[in-house]
Amino acid sequence: MTETFYDVMRRQGITRRSFLKFCSLTAASLGLAPSFAPKIAHAMETKPRIPVLWLHGLECTCCSESFIRSGHPLAKDVILSMLSLDYDDTIMAAAGHNAEAIVTEIVEKYKGNYILAVEGNPPLAEDGMYCIIGGKPFVEQLKYAAESCKAIISWGSCASWGCVQAAKPNPTRATPVHKVPGLANKPIIKVPGCPPIAEVMTAVVAYLLTFDKLPTLDRQGRPQMFYSQRIHDKCYRRPHFDAGQFVEHWDDEAARQGHCLYKMGCKGPTTYNACSTVRWNEGVSFPIQSGHGCIGCSEDGFWDKGSFYERLTDINQFGIEANADAVGGTAAALVGAGIAAHAGLTALNRAKQPGAEKQ
């Protein structure tokens, strides 16, 4: 009755050889020693499979798109077969009421023992009416599924931070998963990015399923192993940054030479993600390698800070939207003008005073 991961994979037509290869690959991508491969294999042969329920709220499906393009086809096949993608409204076979029934079935059958993966987020305004799934607000489906899950994965910047649908003034009140009021108190793993890197996604799922525990998270709830360094820390253009060699225009010599994109607004120095090491599309490239700065897509609030092409971004706290130099420079100029005026008045005042001849 209880199927193991291994059983499921075999049923999906994956050979033992491929299975063992997958185990060593997983160990490698998680940064573990080769000795971990047999441990992973053993876990997968003996542990009952944990289903993953993948829900979609307000989103653009870029996380799913990224996920199914995972660089190692093997990893992708294996993981896809491990996930219970009976319910994933983008790629599932069932439709209509049958499909919705699957959610209930998984929740009932695996109470407390399934992983809830959320792509997108619920809008809370108008009782959640801006995102209806199967006739009900998505926020209700989310809360229902969260109630009996083991842990939640917040896929992408939408579920993790809000992303563009939560951009000011956020009319639908799109709200990241961890801020949904009344959501069951479950551990949440944030895997931000727009979209997150496929290999990072598969590795996070593999870790959860094989070790049956959460990867180490940082203070903001992201897996340490992929989000502990900035793009800038491992960027191959970094020597040009340190040298002071910057692209100043998109068509200048420095751009052709591949110099640092800092002055073009690159957000690599303030963005925690694995792009500069793992890269994209099977390690082919990443935005900076293609000549465009990082826009900081895995950072909280990246969508609300003004231009992607300015180094200094906006501070929105004062009701005005301006960068630090605009706010501070203006303040300093006003102070300077005030001082000049005050000095002038002081001189006038002195001149008027009778007998002010000291000094």
Partner: protein, 238 residues
């Protein structure tokens, strides 16, 4: 209004001990260096040509910024120690007597003086009450803010496990939400400190001429001299 009295004379009084004076000049120098290099970090100089291996301009600018940042922090720690070890005037900018009415009357009088509404300022051995207010709330807290956010930024580059990250970045980053916001606030507070410095220097020059006690010579030699022999208005007298 009661005028607190003390020996009413024009005799000079030793106010700012050597460590305070040395700290003042070192601190002023470091703030200028930090502001210039900080500005250049956010808005770098014109790009250099040639091979990357031939230059390290941005690296040097950042190095100077970080070294000055360390010095500023150590100097402030030392100054805090001196607030404890030094004379009563060394404590003024750290412990403003915010609960004393006499102090607030002094602040009020000083404001009137700057609005040209009273003919004469009061007379002080230490800082005047308005100066204490600005030095405490704008300078002391402003510089503390720069140090905390500065080390949090530094910890990001140093990496997890380093003390800068453990003691600063780990809690400051979540507080500001993102590294980009942290940069913006570190940058904005530079302007606050620049505004303080502009006003501070103007006021120091102006008070040197118009107040009833010496200013510039005091921060250089430590001795306060007085221009009249009426009683002083300091909180605690002499």
């Amino acid at each position: 209004m009661t005028e607190l009295t003390s020996a009413a004379s024009t005799a000079p009084i030793y106010v700012y001990e050597k460590p305070v004076r040395l700290w003042h000049s070192l601190n002023a120098l470091l703030i200028v260096v930090l502001s210039v290099t900080g500005y250049l970090i956010a808005d770098p100089l014109a790009s250099l040509k040639g091979e990357a291996s031939e230059h390290f301009l941005m690296g040097y600018i950042r190095f100077v910024h970080f070294s000055a940042g360390y010095l500023l922090s150590i100097a402030l720690l030392f100054r805090l120690y001196w607030a404890y070890a030094g004379n009563e005037h060394a404590r003024q900018i750290f412990l403003p007597p915010l609960l004393k009415t006499h102090y607030w009357q002094g602040v009020f009088h000083e404001v009137l003086w700057y609005l040209f509404l009273v003919k004469e300022p009061r007379k002080y051995i230490g800082h005047n009450p308005l100066a204490i207010l600005a030095m405490h709330f704008v300078f002391v807290w402003g510089v503390l803010f720069m140090i905390v956010t500065g080390f949090a930024l530094y910890g990001e580059g140093a990496g997890q496990g380093r003390w800068q990250h453990t003691f600063f970045s780990s809690w400051v980053l979540p507080l500001f939400g993102s590294s980009q916001s942290l940069h913006s606030w570190h940058h904005l507070f530079m302007w606050l400190i620049i505004c303080f410095v502009l006003v501070h220097i103007y006021v120091a020059l102006r008070e040197d001429r118009l107040s009833r006690q010496s200013m510039l010579s005091t921060i250089v030699t430590g001795w306060r001299t007085f221009k009249d022999d009426r009683p002083v208005d300091d909180e605690s007298g002499a």
